[in-house]
Symmetry: C2
Subunit: 314 residues, 2 copies
Amino acid sequence: MNDLSGGALSPVLTPFDEEGAPSVQRFVGHCRALLDDDVGLAVFGTNSEANSLSVAEKRSLLDALLDAGLPAARMMPGTGACALPDAIELTRHAVASGCAGVLMLPPFYYKGVSDEGLFRAYARVIDAVGDARLKIYLYHIPPVAQVGLSLALVARLLKAWPGTIAGIKDSSGDWSHTRALIDAFASSGFRVYAGSETFLLRTLEAGGAGCITATGNVNAAAIAKLARDWRNPDAATQQSRLDATRAAFQRFPMIAAMKAAIAWQSGDENWASVRAPLVELSTAQRAQLESALAAIGFRIPHAAKLALRTEALH
Amino acid sequence: MNDLSGGALSPVLTPFDEEGAPSVQRFVGHCRALLDDDVGLAVFGTNSEANSLSVAEKRSLLDALLDAGLPAARMMPGTGACALPDAIELTRHAVASGCAGVLMLPPFYYKGVSDEGLFRAYARVIDAVGDARLKIYLYHIPPVAQVGLSLALVARLLKAWPGTIAGIKDSSGDWSHTRALIDAFASSGFRVYAGSETFLLRTLEAGGAGCITATGNVNAAAIAKLARDWRNPDAATQQSRLDATRAAFQRFPMIAAMKAAIAWQSGDENWASVRAPLVELSTAQRAQLESALAAIGFRIPHAAKLALRTEALH
């Protein structure tokens, strides 16, 4: 079962508890609120601090979502890793859990590796998982991973496993690259997601699938609305409003800023925590962020739900 | 017990078997040969493809060395990882096993992180391991990890944990940086290792500890000899000879080239295997490498031992 038709997914932030461990109840509450707003769950992405989590922590968080009754058909967990045994273990678990797809980084420690080496890495995971239900969304994020996926590599992977290579998230930040991916591969059903809602309208107009975007954590309903309404006359206005909100967050390190905003508006200070090597916003940065959000009249629509769920923790 | 006084360590290559799993017997045989040549064991380094191995694979390889009776006092396993729980688990295991030290990469997925974030990452591991025997050698390798360790960060770590922060491997490839580290910190007993034997003589002359170098896998005895003989009149001649050998390998991707050379000279073809995203040398590259090594009359001194041990596998 696959229900990624909504067009907007969020790389779900991972909240931590006082001891620095992932906070399961906060995570489940946030995921439920995102689903309520029609945003799919790309848990364990870059904005989830997923590479700062162990495989065991990620397995446990995924299990917690399923135990809470959240639909695997709306989930696209990130399962790529430097070490293929880790990628295989987490991918196998995601497929066995019924997840709609997995978002897969290439191994990213070695730099300047060849397309042949990256092809073999994906091949190894696909062979080892050996399950026809596996749907891989490739994850192209050269600004962070420094190891990107060329169009030639995407073409080769798609040709080798047309039923398995389902799409890509393009976090290059380069619209011409996203456009080239859509032009080259979308007609065959390959789903191209932009890595930011900045490109949402353009992506949908060009024939792409939507976006998987950090800001989906704080502005979910509005992003999902544009993903539904993109043919409407007010689409450009909606896009401008999304851009203004993103710009307010983007003046700061995004992960820490989104967590600080949730902490502020939900009243649950634990939400501000990040795991090293990331650091929380300073007091001055938090004040600047709060001013910036107030200036555009932005409130996180689901902050109240997170506050409510936090009370249940006590 | 700590016996890293030799001045030369090798980031030990990890051999694989037909199924792509680490080959324990080949690994133990290679490590024993390196120790015979007076080279310490920096297992699980960049040249070990360590970030392509799971924590379980690394624990198991370390246990195999200890089970085979190899001295932990000559070992400096790499234990850094993107996810701090992984770094903590492997570091704890290395310390409990009696290893002389650990070589610790910073978390390397996020780029442009702050010194504060990296400080917290090391702090978290040190606090979690909580063992006075822990000796950390920092691992600075910006060309690969893309996340480096500034002099200010080294100073702060050293001040916070003078008994724990024992040294650094500088794989920047920038002699002026290695020199700056020696000048700033060596007088307090902090051990600065160059990341290549190219800098071995200069490092020792300047007051550094030696080198931890890829080529230690194929040219161990000669590198260890210079580390002992650096005050001798023929030291510069020895250094030139080391440089010529390294240059022959460096024309190719180093890890694949060293493995191909061992496969060639030991007659054990399994040695040529690498794990994705790396790829083996092509047939043409192997022919070029063999010519280049023949041209300088270089043979891997311990290749015969590896051949012998391989026979024992069958």
